[in-house]
Each structure stands twice: as C-alpha cells, then as structure tokens.
Assembly symmetry: C2
Homo-oligomer: 362 residues x 2
C-alpha cells in the first residue's frame, strides 16, 4: 500500500517475562510465540511486510535498546531506529515518528503497532489492517478485537453505529473491567478488546498534537528546524527536548480528546502476551494442560508451564510432582517459580532484586 | 560400656530425598541435619562413640553400597561393613549381625540403630540408650520417643506398666494412626513414637530367631560352619543363602512374636527424616517459615524449602513469588518441585524416571 508507513513501538521494561526478559532484553526481543523461532518484534515486522516494506518501517525504542533491537532486525535500514533518550510514554514518540514520516511524505498514512503481541491468523490480520488503513483516511482509527472470552486483563472499546462496512464509530474507551462487566461486554456484540494499534494520516496526528499537546508540538517544530542543520544538531536537540516532553500515552493525550474516532473490529487470533500466564495460554499443552519443555516431567499435576531457557543445556530433568498451575522458568542465572494466576507478581521479584542491588539479574 | 556392640542399619533405596538421594547415594550418606556437615550415618556413629568404640560397630548395608558407605566412615575397620547380597528387609541382617557378634563375644549386648535419623539432644539420647542397654539384659528393649505432636507419619508403641524406673512393658505396636487417634496418643502419656532402635543380648536374639524364624536360624548355622573354612567360603555361602532368607522385618519376624518386650521412653529431639517435609521441619526458617539456601528469595510466600545442592555453583537466583509450602530441590542434573504436604509422592517421580529408562537419574 503506497504512502503507508509503520511505527513499531518497542519500549518495555523487561519485567513481565523475567527472567527471560531483562532491562536490556525486553519482551519483544524474545521468541515467545509457540513454534516460531523469531523474536516477537521480527514477527511483527515480517507480518506487515506485504503491506509495508522495510524502508517504510520505523522502530521506536529506548536509546539503550537501539543496538539490541537493530541486531534483531538486521534487514531494516539504519535510519529505521528511533532511540528515545528517556522514556516518555507513547504520545511523544508517536508524535515524533509522525513528524519524521510527514517530512518524508506529507500524504503519509501511519499505522502504529505494538512490537510484542501475538497474532495467529496473519492473512486475517492483514485484511483488518487494510480496512483500518482505508478508514484512517477520514479519521484516526483503531482495531478492536472481538472478545473470545470475558477477559478482565484487557481494556475494551465500546463501538457505536456502523459508518461503513466493518467500520464503526468509537463510543468510548473502557478500562479493564471486573468479571461481571467483562461477561456483559462479550455478550453485547459492541465491545472489543483494545489492541493498541492506531491508524491515521500523519498530518492529522500532527494537527491533533498541536490542538491537545501544544508543548509537544512546539518541541517537534524545534526538532525539525535543528534537523535542517544536520543529524548531529538534531540529536543534540532531541537529547535536550525529550526529557521535557510530557510523559503521556497516546490514548489519554490524543485519542480520548480527538473528535471522531473509528474502530475496525477484527477476529484474528490475538494475545497481548501480558505475562507467563499468556505464554501458557498460547502454548501447546498435553492432556493435563501442562506445557513442558523437553526434559521436564509432571506427575499428578495439571496446568503447569515449564520453560528451560538455559543456553548451556547440560542434561537435566525438571520434575514436578503434585503441583498445579505453576510457571517454572529457567535461565542460566535464574529460576522463577510463580503460580500462573499470580504471574503479574513477577514484578515483585524484579523489585526485590533491584532493592538487593542485584543489577546483573535485572 | 563393655560388651556393647552397635549394628547400624544402612540400606535404603534412595527415593525419599530424590534428587539429593539416589540408588547409589541413599539418605544416610547425605548431610541432612541442619548445621551439620557430616552425613547422617557418620553422625549416628559419632553419637554413640562414647558408649561403643569403632571396633565394636557393624554397618549393615547393600553389597552395592559397601564402598560408598566405607568412604563415608573411613575411621571404621574394614571388617565393620556387612554387605547384604540382596535386600531381605531387617530380620535376616540383624540376625546375621547378631550371629557374628555372638561369635566374638557370647555375652554381647547389641543395639540396632537406624543410620538415617536426626537426633538433636545427644547427651539426652545417650542417657536413654544407657537405660535401654541395662533393660536389654532382661528382655529385648526398644526406645519410644515421647510424641511432641500428633504425628500421623510415625508408628507408635503403647506402653503398659512400669517395670523399673524409666522402663515399661510394651503393650503393643501400632501402625501409623489417623489424626484423631494420633491426638489421643499424644494426650494419653502411654503412647510413644517407634524409634526403630532395638537393644538385646545377642544370645537372646539368636534364640528368638531359632524359635520364630527357624529357616533363618538354620542358614546362620551353615554360615558359621562355612566361616570356619575361611572368608572366601563364608562369602560364597552368604551369596547362596541370603536370597533364600525370608524378606521380613525384625518387627514382624521377631519383636511381635517375642514374649516380654520393654520400652524405654525418651524425650530427646528426634526426627525420622522421612521426606523433604521433615527436612523443612528441622531447618532454620525465616519469619515467613521459609527455609532458603543462599541465592534464593521468596516474595509473598510462606513455608517454602529451597535447597541448592549443585556442585558447580554458578551464581544463580531461585525466585519464588506467591508460592506457599513448596519444596524446590536442585542438583546438577535435576530440579524437583513438590508441595511439602505431598513430599512422599517424590517416589512417583522416581517411578516415572525408571519407566522412562532414565537410569542415570535414579
């Protein structure tokens, strides 16, 4: 699709999939999709290649992650990587990327994609993306996933009337609901999971930023002026400006303040891979619901996830007996044991290690 | 104490403390007592040294374990080690050892001790042993441990009237009780844990064997005759006879058929170390009841046991989050995860490995 650019968001603190993920190796750099040896970010970019070639992909990540991210995506040009000097949530980096794209093509359409989600049905996904790109010609558009279950871990989008086939107006964004409301949403037919994917004309996004985040818009103008003096000047300006940008998400900063928003519902197999619990959901499991790496065994136990991510694979057995619904994750320097339903609490381990000064484990 | 000999029982299949224990390294060869770097069998023999010097100690073990056991007890003479050609439970080996001791000293008193229990109060233990040895001059005697809690994992001895200060007649032996009966036993003042320790005159034991296990008695006589022809002849005879001995415990084969039995109650700190659960009971614990080896951490979890028994201690963290009452045991080639209250089920893991043909892990 000509004029279509992708901005792939690749920040991340590396806590949710600890000990596999680290500060220097966040989730998107891991191969967490079952049967796929690619990193999630590589899969993300390969998935959209039929719609958007490598030279129109930008990857926004933390400055400290640029080298590792580049190594994961060796086929992308050097200029594809945007390193944020400090983390400032999504609005500044999406606005910055939109500004860069707008300089290259004032007619550009932009899709913003998370780099660390799982998508099962790729042709189905691309069909929905094409519809969203079309919709983005008239208004900022998001993709809403048809809810497969009453998930309480996701945000939802409530859709209003249909504006065109497969395109609806957004009534409102909804925070993670409780179980009862989630069940109502699944039954309603007008609530969708918030996929975190956005589609817009670069010019429309920049207008919206000027309207709702004027400080940020002013900064982007200074950046554009500095860029005319050369790359070194632009980088100096960036390092000075970025820390002063408001740390605000694109959802709060722009989307919820925008006038008309569109949502394109999609039903491709999708998972935000929010924790080891999600990894278990996606994994191939035996008759007892255990997802075990080779060398692991479980007796009288159900629903366990065992991942052996050691690089030095000395022969070793991991034996679970009488244990249910547990995640057991091994790396060269760490072993994590956590109940699946409490997998979010892995951050407490990371905090404890941080407090103990164990930087090499973070 | 002159005339006093010790027979230390050191068989064992190596399953209960897997993966630390193995067929070739059963429990008594491990250092499982907190703060004591000695193996349990070494501690057992050192503990009785004030009463019974090394030259009057016999260690009965499986033929395949003699070398490893000797290495654990380098100060004992070569002749101390009796290797059973095949496992035949406790009656044959105790009778055989009694016969050997009787040849050396017809007046001998014998104490039979398990090699793999924990005893906290050693002077207290020796005082009880001395009383039991005295009692053994008139009848086969056992030590009964005053129950510290309503334990359902132990057998009990019901005591009858006092025969001498601190010596009571045995009314009966009782199998592992349910919780309710265990509580009654603790309250009764006349029920004691069966310690598996026996004291007797060698001549009395041999008489009892002749009376209740005549086949075994006949075998022992043939062995004695062969011994007069030299060690080689004795070993040949042993290899031929042992497999034909009845596989029966001393409890069933002799004790319960004997006339008068004595029990000497004792209250020294004792634990049969029956499983990783026992190891947790004995271990030093933090305020949340966690017994963690260095390099382990637990957040929002209670009652866990983490043992890192790897020989190559590359720096590594074992992190438990939101996990309660779990045993996590690591060796170089295995990692076991099992709930404390199901620690007995480790045998299911050993069986599964056996069925999978993983001999190197057994």
């Amino acid at each position: 699709m000509p004029n279509l650019f992708a901005v792939v968001l690749a920040g991340g603190s590396g806590t949710r999939f600890w000990p596999a993920s680290r500060k220097s190796r966040p989730k998107q750099l891991l191969a967490l999709a079952p049967g796929d040896p690619q990193s999630l970010i590589a899969a993300t970019i390969r998935r959209i290649e039929p719609l958007c070639p490598p030279e129109r992909v930008l990857v926004a990540t933390g400055a400290h992650l640029v080298d590792a991210t580049r190594r994961a995506l060796p086929w992308l040009p050097e200029s594809a990587f945007l390193g944020e000097p400090v983390p400032r949530n999504t609005a500044p980096c999406i606005a910055w990327a939109s500004s860069l794209i707008h300089r290259r093509d004032p007619e550009a359409l932009v899709m913003v994609l998370p780099s660390d989600h799982y998508i099962g049905d790729e042709p189905g996904f691309r069909a929905v993306v094409e519809r969203a790109v079309d919709s983005a010609r008239t208004a900022i558009t998001t993709i809403g996933i048809e809810p497969a279950r009453p998930e309480t871990g996701y945000g939802y989008i409530e859709a209003a009337e249909e504006l065109a086939p497969g395109v609806r107006r957004v009534a409102r964004f909804i925070e993670k609901p409780d179980r009862e409301r989630a069940e109502q949403y699944v039954a309603s037919g007008r609530h969708f999971w918030n996929s975190g994917m956005f589609f817009f004309r670069a010019s429309e996004m920049l207008e919206a930023v000027r309207a709702h985040l004027p400080e940020l818009a002013a900064g982007l103008e200074r950046l554009e002026i500095a860029a005319r003096a050369g790359t070194a000047a632009e980088e100096r300006e960036l390092a000075e400006l970025f820390p002063r940008f408001p740390a605000i998400s694109i959802d709060y900063g722009v989307m919820e303040r925008a006038g008309q928003l569109h949502v394109v519902p999609g039903s491709f197999d999708w998972n935000d891979l929010g924790s080891w619990q999600s990894a278990w959901e996606l994994a191939n499991k035996d008759g007892d619901g255990n997802a075990l790496d080779p060398g692991a065994l479980s007796v009288r136990g159900r629903g366990n996830l065992v991942r052996d991510l050691r690089t030095a694979r000395t022969p070793r057995v991991v034996a679970l007996a009488g244990v249910d619904d547990l995640c057991v994750i091994e790396t060269d320097d760490a072993l994590l044991i956590i109940p699946r339903e409490r997998a979010q609490e892995v951050r407490l381990v990371v905090e404890a290690l941080e407090q103990a000064g164990k930087k090499q484990l973070l």
